[in-house]
Amino acid sequence: MLRYLIKRLLGIIPLLFGITVISFAVIHLAPGKPAAVEQSMDPRVSAESRARMAKLYGLDRPLHAQYIDWVAKMARFDFGRSFGDNRPVLDKILERIPVTLAINISSLLLIFGLGVFLGIKGALRPNSLFDHSLTVGMFLLFAAPTFWLALLAMQLFSIQLGWFPISGLTSLDYEYFSPLRKFLDICWHLFLPVCVISFGSLAGISRYMRASMIETLRQPFITACRAKGLSRGAVIYKHALRNAILPIVTIVGLSIPGLLGGSVIFESIFALPGIGRLFYEAVMTRDYPLIMAEVVLGAVLTMIGNLVADISYAYADPRIKYGKK
């Protein structure tokens, strides 16, 4: 286990390197690189910004030197200053990250929990009416564009039924709430977004879980468990589940980049102050330092998420944890 852990952690280094290289390459080599902005007559980019950017990137210097500069700065957590308000990019990101993390972690928990639950239920009654309607439902959910579902949900639950707030993170008189009420207020505001965000991935996970469960229930050791006289419940929930759930952990990890990417649209629709919306604003205002930092951040978060998922899997499966004899 330790050996696996070390191997995996060492593997991060080339990955991080690669992430920075690709990010740099995309920004600087794509048509219309920052240099072109200097010469463009785009009124959105003021002369001040152009000068700032030339200085920031040392655009007269060779590319690899620029790259090293940039990486060196990042290693010191200096992501430059935002073009919009000249505040350090790091600050702007840090103040928005909690919201995005709260939303995405809640979504992951919901996806995992509900997905596993529905998958099991489908596997236990394969080809029943329940199972078929579940499959059809999941197909539809999978196919629906989630931002559209967000709009529909807003229409139904917020506007017509009035159960949830239309947008935003907090209510108008948030300042005057007690800490408990503040927490509940945020939960109430985040409930709809988290549910809607989860729907797409939920469909996928429940299908995988169903397949995994059906496959596991066919394994010989399940028959042996029954031969021991274990009740049906014990066989399913103690033995089958524990085995079937292992690959799901990795798959849930794979849905992280999708969640992060989706946060751009969702945070915009629901007016939530997270890093997704920050990214959108940065793109609209061509705020390059912020854009670059966010691209790297998105990749790093994904990488960490996958790492956590893989390590959890290795820990949970004794065949990996203890290796072959």
């Binding site: 196919a143 559209w148 649209i265």
Partner: protein, 264 residues
């Protein structure tokens, strides 16, 4: 037909969509860009089957032309990613060694990036155009096809008929192109149909944010921009484009399930 309902359903849905896209000028009742001040935001009626938008443009017509845009973007973007994927996967699988490691590492790194972030970053640098969208979606989606092709080639490489060809002195390109790659095409096709679906989703998301297909060119995504402001007032602007996207994605999903079943 009964034996593979998924395939049938998929072919029917996508077929109809494609026909609508191809014959758009013949099928759409109105010119999609004609503004009609008399009929702003009118609900569905006999003259406007899907209603009109805030500029009085007929929604049905815009939807039909939107099909054209979305489907072609999806198709071409996936075409790019499949070609790129086959190329890189074939090189990685056939030559092995450091070529393989390099390409697979590259794929691993690319997979770390939320696609949307990369696409948005590129769009920030360039003006959003249909060509750019197709290119960037294509360039960020090759990893899946590459993995599949590489896997097939790795397992086929050791087979006798390949070694026979090699001993006869066939060129690498011939072996790869004529024998190895065609065997991998099945799974790649399945992957590609799903890829078109996700490309369409990506494009509609981008257009919805205003960074994809630019108005007045209609795309299902950018029609939905208006729904934000007309929520609660004009349900048809929200419902129909979303439904169209849903149906299309469903169609491609069915198609891929059907192909999977057919290939065994």
């Amino acid at each position: 037909m009964r034996k593979n309902p998924y395939l049938t359903a998929g072919v029917v849905i996508i077929g109809l969509m494609s026909l609508a896209a191809i014959f758009a000028p013949l099928l759409s009742p109105y010119d999609p860009s004609v503004i009609d001040h008399a009929n702003l935001l009118s609900s569905p009626s006999a003259s406007h089957v899907m209603g009109t938008d805030s500029l009085g443009r007929d929604l049905l017509s815009r939807m039909i032309y939107g099909a054209r845009i979305s489907l072609s973007i999806g198709l071409i973007a996936v075409g790019i990613s499949v070609i790129l994927g086959i190329l890189l996967g074939a090189l990685a699988g056939f030559y092995g060694g450091w070529v393989d490691t390099l390409i697979m590492r590259f794929a691993d790194i690319m997979l770390c990036f939320p696609t949307f972030f990369l696409i948005l970053a590129v769009v920030a640098l360039t003006e959003p155009s249909i060509f750019n969208i197709m290119a960037i979606i294509g360039l960020t989606g090759w990893m899946g096809a590459a993995r599949l092709v590489r896997g097939e080639i790795l397992s086929l490489k050791e087979r006798e008929f390949i070694q026979a060809e090699q001993s006869l002195g066939a060129s690498h390109a011939r072996i790869i192109g004529l024998h190895l790659v065609p065997n991998a095409m099945g799974p790649v096709m399945v992957h590609a149909t799903l890829g078109i679906a996700s490309a369409i989703l990506l494009e509609s998301g981008l257009s919805f944010l205003g960074l994809g297909v630019q108005p007045p060119v209609p795309s299902w995504g950018n029609i939905l921009i208006e729904s934000k402001s007309t929520l609660g007032i004009a349900w048809w602007i929200t419902l129909y484009p979303g439904l169209a996207i849903l149906l299309t994605i469903l169609g491609f999903n069915f198609l891929s399930e059907g192909l999977k079943k057919k290939l065994g």
